[in-house]
Every structure is written in structure tokens, then in C-alpha cells.
Symmetry: C2
Subunit: 332 residues, 2 copies
């Protein structure tokens, strides 16, 4: 068997699948991160359909690497995943609650480890991305919502129920806008794509963001985060002002996380990180004013995610490999 | 030597010292927490005087347990302590910056481990207090300021520089009052003793807390947190209203920490925890409304610190013992 051949440790093979709100991405990777195959599908609606697509993606990856047999299989999924691998709550996967993906896959693929997608992404970035070499790290994904992952002394911080690293609902403004979670002033209301769009709409209503309104086809209700980042990239002053305001809010939550976790590096991923230095430079500037202990410890590095959209699939696969989710290891 | 006798593991002896803003408390404890001796001194001003008092406390404890020789020595100190044991910044110890306590003690006591005091308190509570048996835990101390400690899978989360677990300066209200740290709206402005006094003064100015004003001798500027807890304990409605408002702010920060860390238990220590259930009951009620994932995971327990004022000294000593700070182990 290839998996038992000399060099199996560095050459070990993992399948990793990232189940997000819009796409399911599968990757077959070596322990060193080399990609052997990748498969992408749109995320269907409903638990049964999602299970079927994950099975199909694993099947396609398995065929692509045959006759070699994967040493481990891992899934990262958007939502609160408990320590037995059950997805308990998934605001971005409508109708999916208490999904036991491991049981639902029916054992055909052997044991499967399941993690929260952002936690998986942090493991990927730690193994071979922006957090490589750091023993203490934090990752935040800024997209439709906000996800997170924590690393302490080289170990994932999973929490009692596996649900650690959910900074999106930290309260940062008791007078802030209502959140779908039922509270108000959650960090996600400000520092996500939805938050950026809201800041831009407020600016547009005050006549301070005409270029954003144009980019949205003249319809204020149609304004999305991308309209801001695109017009800011083109140098529009109104858009840049909105982006700087947004960067302050991003920095607020990161500073809170740094006060709590004291990481060496904070990795910023998710769709909004595609704005790159345009966003990161003002976040760094605002962060320097907000974090505790400046001058008494080396400041953490703020870095863009290096693995991009492949981080969660890569991390899910490597985590499964690193924690022994092969053969007869049983569920984590 | 007693320390090499059979049973030395469970009977091992540690000296622990807690250096706080007002007192230095030393304890000689067995590995099971049994106290053999305790010494208490007021905290003097200035680094040299503090070092001298710590040396004196260790000396007194050493004499008390002689001829037995301690197996380990640990110190918990109020401030940001780096991973080499140097106290980098100590807002409650005026004039003390970059104090290398281990070097200053001159090696007379052998290797000494040094931790932040709240982190040490968490270790004490984990070993034999309110967090016993919990592998994932958070401790917050609510006193003049706010301290904190984190435990993940039975290990302290220290962070890259040893400064993890400082939740007091999480920003929770951008419109909040200025903080001595230079920012505004830090959690400590609301949920510390100073925060309780401020809420009470605001209520008193609006004529809503006459009993608190009486307790403070009629002087609004003299109102302290104790005046609120004492009059609330006596059933005064105005004081209870202030305490409930305060409890909401306490719960905000705890909910933020739970979103990030997902602990099994949150231990509440510090001077304000002496208010007991009077404070804890409204904190629990507010917390239930604020935390993410309710219904999808077991809620963390909110508990009062069990070791009281002895937690940090006990934890500092046991941590030194547990991490091998005896004989020729060298600094951590």
C-alpha cells in the first residue's frame, strides 16, 4: 500500500473538504501541503443534500488519487461544531441543525474529523501559511459574517464544546445596530461584509460616498462591501473614508482578541481580505492605537491569510492527518 | 531530606507568593493544597522594596517549614509578566517597570517561576477550587481593575509574551468613559470596583441612590463599590438597581470571553466577588441573554472563586511545583 511505504509520514495523503455558505471545496493534499487534486461544487440547500455533495466530493478526490488510499479525511464546516464532530448550529447553512456528518457519511470513507471552517483555516495557515512558525496565533475571517480560530502553544484552542473562537458576536457597542443573533452591537455588525455595506449606505445617505452609489447602480439598498473596496482601490476619497472607518472597527475586535489571547500573529482571511493592503494598512494603524501593552511586548503581526480560499480545506485535511484520523482511529 | 522521601509527589511542598497592589501574601502548601504556613505584609512602594518584602516573606515561610526544604517556589504578581518571568508593566504597582524578580531575588531561593496574579489564581482554582475538574476555564478578577486567566485542555493559555488573559481593556463601548490606558470604553471602566462606583455616582447625582450617598457619608466623590454592595445587601432598592446595571456590564465581558474561549466554567474572583450571590445572580441572568450558542451547547457555569484571597499565592506555588520549578530546573 502506498500509505505504508517508506516516506509515508512526509508523503502522507489527506482529503480535506471545506463546506461554506456558497461552495464546497475539496482538496487532496500531502502532509507538506502539495495539492494532488481539487474539486469544487456549489453548496446545496438542506442537510441531506450537503451530505450527498460532501460524499460526492470525497469520492471524486478518492478517484483522482487512486490507487493511493488517503491516510486521513477531514471536513471544515461553517458553523458551531461540537467536540464529537456534530454541526450544532449553522447560520449560513439554512435549515441545517445538529448534523452528524460523520454518521451521515455512513463510514464509507472511514473516520472523518470535523472542525469549524475558520478553525480549520487557522490550522492550514499554521501548518503552511501566514501563521507558519507561530505557536500562538489568532485567525479571523471577515466575510458575510466573522469566523475565528485560536492557537495556543501550537495547539488549537477548541473550548469545552469545540466552539471556541467565535469573536463575531463579541459586544463592542451597546448602542450598535441589532444583530440577527438577537442582541445588538456585535462585532460582526461592524467588521463583516454586511457591516462594511451598512457603513457605506450610511455614508451614501449623507452624500459622502457618490462613487459607491454609482458602483451599486444608483441603488443604495444594493450597496455591498465589494463596491466600497473596488472604488477605494480606484482612489475615490469617499470610499477610502468608509474603508478607514471600517478598518477601525476591524481593529477594535482584533485588539480585544489580542488582549485576551496575546498571539504572535493575527491572520486576516475571508472575502474582505482580498482587499489586501488597502484594508490592512488602516487596520494596522488603528490597531496600534487600540491594543494594550504597547511598548511592553512585541506587537503581534497582522497578516493576510496566505492560503486564500484553500485554507479551510487544506487545514481540515492536515488536521485530520496530524491528529491521526486514519484507519481505525475513531471519531475525535 | 524530606523532599526526597517516599510520598514526595503528593506531599511535595511549594512556597507561593502573591504580590498585589495592597498586600503581599505568602503560603507554604502541599501539592494537595494543605496549608503549612502563611505570611502577610503590606505592599511597599517601589521595585527594590517589593523585592525585599518578597525575599522576607519567602524567608519567613522557609523558617516555618524548616527543616523541610521547599520543592518549588512561585510568585504571582499584579501586572503583565513575560515568559521569562519579568514584570513588564504594573499599573497597580506605581513606579515598577521591567522588574526581573528572579534575578533580583539573587538565586538565594533557587529557581522561581513568576506569573501574572490572576493567571496564578486560575491555576489555584483549577487545581483545587471552583475550576477543579474543568479542562477549559476562564477566571476574571473584579477588583480595583480586572484581571484574567485562561485554561485550555488543562493548560494555561499564556500567549506569545505571557500576557494572555487581560480582558479588562476589551473595548465594549466606543462612547464609554475615558480609561487611564488612553482609550475609552474599556470593560474595566464598567465592570471593576471603579466602574461600580462610577455607576453609583451617576445614580446618586440623579437622586436614585440616596442610601449609597448616606453610606459614603454624604460625599458623592467618596462613593466606592463597597457602599453599593453593602446597601444592596441590606435590600435598598436604589442600590440593587445600580448593582443590576453593574451586573449587566460584568456579563457583557464574560459573554465576550465565552464567545472566544468556550469554557466549561467562568470563575469570578477579586474583591467584588465578596458580594457573592447578590452579584452573581443578576450576572447569571444577564449572561444568559448575552452569550452566543445558547441551546446549542451546555452553558458554562458561572462560579465564585473558591479559594478567596489565597487563590493567587496557592496557584503560584502549585504552578511552580507542577512545572518543575525545583532544584536545578532553571527559569521558565
Amino acid at each position: 500500500m502506498p500509505s505504508a511505504s517508506p516516506g509515508a509520514t512526509t508523503g502522507a495523503l489527506a482529503l480535506g473538504v471545506d463546506v461554506g455558505g456558497t461552495k464546497v471545496l475539496g482538496r487532496a493534499v500531502r502532509a507538506d501541503g502539495t495539492e494532488l487534486a481539487a474539486v469544487r461544487r456549489p453548496t446545496p440547500r438542506g442537510a441531506d443534500a450537503i451530505v450527498a455533495v460532501v460524499a460526492e466530493v470525497l469520492d471524486a478526490l478518492g478517484s483522482a488519487v487512486a490507487p493511493e488510499v488517503p491516510d486521513a479525511v477531514g471536513v471544515g464546516i461553517a458553523g458551531l461544531v461540537d467536540r464529537s464532530g456534530v454541526l450544532r448550529f449553522a447560520p449560513n447553512l439554512p435549515g441545517v441543525v445538529d448534523l452528524d456528518l460523520v454518521a451521515a457519511l455512513g463510514g464509507a470513507t472511514g473516520p472523518v474529523s470535523v472542525l469549524n471552517d475558520a478553525t480549520a483555516a487557522l490550522w492550514g495557515e499554521h501548518r503552511m501559511g501566514a501563521a507558519a512558525g507561530a505557536r500562538d496565533a489568532v485567525l479571523v475571517t471577515l466575510g458575510t459574517g466573522i469566523g475565528g480560530g485560536l492557537l495556543s502553544e501550537g495547539r488549537l484552542v477548541l473550548g469545552r464544546s469545540g466552539m471556541a473562537g467565535e469573536p463575531g458576536h463579541m459586544l463592542v457597542d451597546p448602542a450598535g445596530p441589532p444583530c440577527p443573533c438577537g442582541r445588538r452591537g456585535c462585532w460582526e455588525r461592524f467588521a463583516s461584509g454586511a457591516g462594511l455595506a451598512r457603513l457605506a449606505r450610511d455614508a451614501a445617505e449623507a452624500g459622502r460616498a457618490p462613487a459607491v452609489v454609482d458602483a451599486a447602480g444608483g441603488d443604495l439598498a444594493a450597496i455591498r462591501g465589494e463596491h466600497v473596496t473596488a472604488t477605494a482601490a480606484a482612489g475615490d476619497p469617499g470610499s477610502l473614508a468608509v474603508l478607514h472607518q471600517f478598518a477601525w472597527w476591524v481593529a477594535v475586535g482584533i485588539a480585544n482578541l489580542v488582549d485576551v489571547c496575546d498571539p504572535e500573529v493575527v491572520v486576516i482571511g475571508g472575502g474582505l481580505s482580498e482587499a489586501g493592503e488597502l484594508l490592512l494598512a488602516p487596520v494596522r494603524a488603528a490597531f496600534a492605537e487600540l491594543v494594550l501593552g504597547t511598548g511592553h511586548r512585541p506587537p503581534p503581526r497582522l497578516e493576510l491569510a496566505a492560503l486564500g480560499t484553500a485554507a479551510a480545506a487544506t487545514g481540515a485535511g492536515l488536521w485530520a492527518l496530524d491528529t491521526g484520523f486514519g484507519a481505525a482511529n475513531g471519531a475525535h
